[in-house]
């Protein structure tokens, strides 16, 4: 009997994953669009003379972008969607149900982040040579840290009382801005870009994908600390009533 309450977040996560897998268009878009972009950019930049760059440096921005998309448009956007549709008001109004919901949601999108990462790896690694289990595990580990990095601001944004459509717009602006500023800082000598890059989570994620978890110990420790604090914050201040309701 005691096992059932503890298993609730896992059972809920299973249902949320099922829901995601039954919506293949969104699933494909998040993973296929970066793959297509990756091949377009790679072919456009490859003149045939130089050797192919190594896989990690060629794909680090893509992994960083995908991890931000899963955190923003998966983990956080679905929380806003469930609030605005009235789902949270129907079921999630006690401490116990808030824990079940948030844990289930987090587990589901942790799993989904690994799926997105793995599919991108399978679809792009062949271009650079053979796939390797060890390499995949390293990339998955780095990618999950990036997902946790983006989860903190994404989850905090769910506490802003804005509706579904405005949230979509805000997340799109954030996602594109982070990517544009990150890539922009690569090919410019303007000091302003370099300063902005210091505070750009997409830049941090890119470095994490390149340097690895052990090489970014301070950043990883900060990410883990931040996600715990954020979890408590979201649990404490989770908006239950839809923004569109009168109150």
């Amino acid at each position: 009997m005691r096992i059932y309450p503890l298993s609730k977040p896992f059972l809920l996560a299973k249902l949320f994953i099922k829901e995601q897998l039954k919506e293949p268009v969104a699933l494909l878009w998040i993973v296929i669009s970066p793959v297509v972009t990756f091949y377009l950019i790679t072919y456009a930049g490859y003149t045939g003379g130089e050797s192919l760059r190594d896989y990690a440096s060629a794909t680090s921005w893509f992994y960083a972008f995908i991890s931000s998309s899963v955190a923003l448009f998966g983990l956080a956007f679905y929380i806003v969607g469930r609030r605005e549709s009235g789902f949270l008001r129907s079921f999630v109004y006690t401490k116990r149900t808030k824990i079940t919901f948030l844990a289930g949601q987090f587990l589901a999108y942790s799993f989904m982040s690994l799926i997105y990462c793995s599919v991108f790896y399978v679809l792009t690694r062949g271009y650079f040579g053979l796939m390797a289990l060890e390499e995949w595990l390293v990339i998955v580990g780095r990618f999950y840290m990036c997902f946790l990095l983006f989860s903190t601001p994404s989850l905090l944004l769910t506490l802003v009382p804005i509706g579904f459509q405005n949230t979509n717009t805000l997340f799109s602006i954030l996602s594109v801005s982070m990517l544009a500023l990150g890539i922009g800082s690569l090919s410019t000598s303007y000091s302003l870009f370099n300063v902005i890059d210091l505070f750009n989570p997409m830049g941090w994620a890119n470095r994490l994908m390149l340097v690895g978890v052990t090489g970014s110990a301070t950043l990883v420790a900060s990410i883990l600390g931040m996600i715990i604090v954020t979890g408590w914050f979201v649990f404490r201040f989770l908006l239950i009533n839809p923004v569109w309701s009168r109150y």
Partner: protein
């Protein structure tokens, strides 16, 4: 005996006063109706009981061990079948595992002949269910959970007469087994017919009635709807 006691409740939004010294009581094993015009604060009152809205004065207390609430809005992921929705609902509403068999045993006992319809909807895709089917399914499933206080916000809104009949039979069955039920509706007839007592939310207070005669006599009018209109148009203070 277990009971919900709302004593001298004050609730306001900014300058707008919703409740002023409003009192209400629900005992175990009774079904209590709640009437009130749109925007009078019925849903806010349920938010207060669920702890989602802070009260500005008075007291809300109850000795029940398990409170369940069915909101007006019912949102189900469209890709799910209703059995997935049932499983999801139970993860939030029940401390023990509740199966279809468990739910069917209860609701079939309260309203014989219902099992076949319930099983038909059980397999249906959520996006293909009508609003009435979803409300019916939600209400009955929720009643099969072992809760001792159930709050339902307009459970029969948009539901056809057959499903309404079964909902009321099940509510009466649950109340007969000791569950306390607080139910709101805009259909005065069904509240008067099925509830043990009912409250009219008027002038920022709950006024209790035991029958249609008392309601008609208090507010005047030849029909229940007329009396309701009179009650709703009384000055707020």
């Amino acid at each position: 005996m277990k009971r919900l006691i709302v004593d001298a409740l004050d609730v306001r939004y900014g300058q707008h006063i919703l409740f002023k010294s409003a009192s209400l009581e629900v005992e175990a094993g009774t079904m209590i109706g709640l009437l009130g015009p749109n925007g009078s604060g019925k849903t806010t009152f349920f938010d207060v009981i669920c702890g989602l809205k802070k009260l500005n004065g008075g007291e809300v207390q109850h000795s029940f061990s398990k409170l369940l609430y069915l909101s007006q809005i019912i949102a189900t992921p469209p890709v799910f079948r209703m059995f997935d929705v049932f499983n999801m609902m139970m993860l939030f509403c029940s401390d023990t595992r509740v199966t279809q068999r468990h739910a069917l045993e209860k609701i079939e006992k309260w309203s014989p002949g219902i099992a076949e319809r319930y099983c038909e909807i059980w397999k249906k895709k959520s996006s293909l269910c009508s609003y009435g089917e979803k409300r019916w399914f939600f209400t009955l499933s929720l009643l099969s959970v072992n809760a001792d206080l159930v709050i339902l916000d307009e459970p029969t809104a948009g539901v056809d007469p057959e499903f309404r009949y079964h909902i009321w039979r099940c509510l009466e069955g649950a109340a007969a087994e000791g569950v306390a039920i607080l139910v709101s509706s805009h259909n005065i007839d069904e509240i008067v017919t099925h509830c043990d007592d009912f409250y009219m939310l008027s002038q920022q207070r709950f006024n209790r009635f035991s029958n249609a005669e008392g309601f008609l006599s208090r507010y005047g009018g030849s029909t229940l709807d007329e009396a309701f209109i009179h009650a709703a148009s009384l000055p707020r203070t």
